[in-house]
């Protein structure tokens, strides 16, 4: 029997660890997203980019003039716009990642049956999970770069460490996308999916984008500090203001755990869903 290219490609991966879950080809899932994007509706993509900028202008300069300056953790005093800009960047990385990894994934899973098609090929479930997350990441990256391109010339990113806010935004997007996809893969109805949006709003409002956590009583601060967006905002804010200390490693670790946990459950769940 003649050996086809598809077979020899698959055989090359056969002896690798985890070969039945991962064919080392998540980039083709990204390629699919890019092909689809070409002819799809750009509105959500563009609005996801504009949203944080609108907040920045209206709150940073509108509300900011009423509020005046704000003192941050190391005692530094910054303008209100400078205070909220990193928070908005973190939020936009989160929103971009969540959009791709929740609603988009839900549709492909249940309406479009797109994963059924993908998993009938020599791809494995981890390829699909990673590929979708990679797509979300790239959106997070694009939003971060776009935001920085506007915020930096406005003098809102005072420290050179701020450049690291871009990889940080990617890390944040990775964490949210990974968890977002895991949660989505367990949800079975639009009602359940609605929960994601409902819970994101308070997370966004209370995680310290618009004011320092110190306005809250201790117990509330403790709760907020368990939330991922707080870690994201702290990470990016500290970098852009040049506040460099060990707490950054804690925030990074938080997201690494999110990534691993999310990928684990997503792969497991996709396996269960598609290997019924």
């Amino acid at each position: 029997m003649l050996i086809s290219a598809a077979v020899s490609i698959a055989e090359r991966q056969a002896n690798r660890m985890g070969a039945k879950h991962y064919a080392g080809r998540s980039h083709v899932i990204l390629e699919r997203s890019l092909v689809a994007l070409k002819s799809s509706n750009w509105f959500p993509v563009v609005s996801g980019f504009l949203e944080p900028l609108l907040y920045l202008f209206s709150f940073g300069y509108g509300v900011g003039t009423l509020i005046g300056d704000i003192q941050v953790s190391n005692g530094q005093v910054v303008s209100y716009a400078m205070f909220i800009a990193p928070g908005l960047l973190a939020t936009s990385a989160m929103n971009g990642a969540i959009y791709d990894s929740t609603w988009n994934v839900y549709f492909k899973l249940h309406e479009g049956k797109i994963y059924h098609g993908m998993l009938a090929t020599s791809l494995g479930p981890l390829d699909v999970a990673l590929g979708e997350i990679l797509t979300a990441l790239i959106r997070g990256f694009a939003y971060a770069v776009g935001f920085m391109a506007v915020a930096t010339p406005m003098g809102l990113i005072p420290s050179w460490w701020g450049v690291l806010a871009i990889p940080a935004a990617v890390l944040i997007a990775f964490g949210f996308a990974s968890i977002g996809m895991a949660i989505t893969s367990y949800f079975k109805s639009y009602q359940q999916m609605g929960l994601i949006n409902i819970s994101l709003l308070p997370i966004f409002l209370f995680s310290g984008s618009f004011y320092p956590l110190s306005v809250f009583p201790d117990w509330a601060q403790i709760i907020i500090k368990t939330l991922p967006l707080w870690h994201a905002i702290e990470l990016i804010r500290n970098l852009s203001l040049g506040i460099i200390n060990f707490s950054l490693l804690g925030h990074i670790a938080y997201f690494l755990v999110m990534i691993v946990v999310g990928l684990f459950f997503t792969t497991r769940r996709l396996n269960a869903l598609f290997m019924r």
Binding site: M1, L2, S4, A5, A6, V7, I9, A10, E11, Q13, A14, A19, K20, A23, R25, V28, E31, R32, V35, A36, S39, S40, G112, K113, I114, H116, G117, M118, L119, A120, T121, S122, L123, G124, F274, M275, R276
Partner: protein, 306 residues
């Protein structure tokens, strides 16, 4: 060489047993059919062989490998046409084929060079850049079949491939499947169309309620489970069942369908003459050769005519 070996395969969904201990094997280059009424367990069996569903128990080997251990490697050999199309509706016809080839890891250029040939196969060259959303049901079916060929599969698995195709498209498809078979591609087909099974399958298996009722080539099955000819008689829907008792003794076997009676015999003309001589006059009568339809009716007690 046996490409597919299935032993004591069981598939349960909760308490429900969809496939109940079946055994069969398929040789390289063979064209093997699964026939059976709705819910017989055909698609469940196909999905397990396609390494997209986990069996409850039993043994399955595809090219000597267990689909649960080597899913991606096995799927690289397969071209799968699922019962329900799962094309990527956001993409165009050409993009669907292209990206599917990429899923198998084929180089971009290789896939691009194949697109026109595959679109031609699906008779969709003129729809190359149309979104799949805008295709008719039959066109989607043809695209799904073309898509299954993008990776040059050794085994083509077709779950009711011609559902939704018009007669012309069906015949074209049969012709193309035949050519693939000549090239050595092994075909695994489920169908409700007996003519399709007779045309395409070297060997087939009749399934019902998760079990195998019979197995063999179309001619063998007809020989074993039916007579040479069938006399179909109609007395009008209210009288058909009254006539059953009178006619029973004339034929080797009699089947009562809602609109007609089927009398199984070696010679239909002779039988008709005898009936008429006994002063029984059907409204209409028809003599025909036995087909898989009759085998099916005999084995499952159900008619398949749609």
């Amino acid at each position: 060489m046996d490409l597919i070996v299935v032993k004591n395969l069981v598939k349960q969904f909760g308490d429900f047993t969809a496939v109940n201990g079946i055994n069969f094997s398929v040789k390289q280059g063979e064209s093997f059919g699964l026939l059976g009424p709705n819910g017989a367990g055909k698609s469940s069996t196909m999905r397990i062989i396609g390494a997209t569903s986990q069996r409850t128990s039993g043994e399955v080997l595809i090219l000597g490998k267990d689909p649960e251990q080597a899913g991606p490697q096995i799927r690289a050999h397969l071209g799968v046409v699922p019962q329900q199309d799962n094309l990527d509706e956001e993409l165009t016809c050409a993009e669907n084929l292209y990206i599917y080839g990429r899923y198998f890891g084929l180089p971009k250029i290789t896939v691009k060079n194949k697109l026109d040939e595959l679109l031609e196969f699906a008779q969709l060259l003129d729809k190359k850049n149309s979104k799949v959303k805008s295709l008719s049901g039959g066109m989607k079916r043809r695209l799904t079949i073309a898509r299954a060929l993008v990776s040059d599969p050794d085994i083509l698995m077709l779950d009711e491939p011609t559902t939704g195709l018009d007669p012309q498209a069906r015949h074209i498809l049969w012709d193309r499947l035949f050519r693939l078979k000549e090239k050595g591609v092994t075909l695994l087909i489920t169908t409700h169309h007996m003519d399709e099974a007779e045309q395409l399958c070297d060997r087939l298996m009749v399934m019902d309620k998760g079990e195998i009722m019979a197995e063999g080539s179309p001619t063998e099955l007809i020989k074993k489970y039916s007579t040479k000819e069938v006399l179909e008689v109609r007395f009008g829907s209210d009288r058909n069942s009254q006539m059953v008792e009178q006619l029973q003794s004339f034929a080797d076997r009699l089947e009562e369908l809602p609109d007609r009676l089927l009398l199984y015999t070696e010679s239909g003309e002779d039988l008709l003459a005898k009936i008429v001589a006994a002063n029984i006059h059907p409204n209409t009568s028809l003599v025909r050769r036995s087909s898989l339809e009759d085998v099916f009716l005999r084995l499952t007690g159900r008619s398949l005519i749609e």
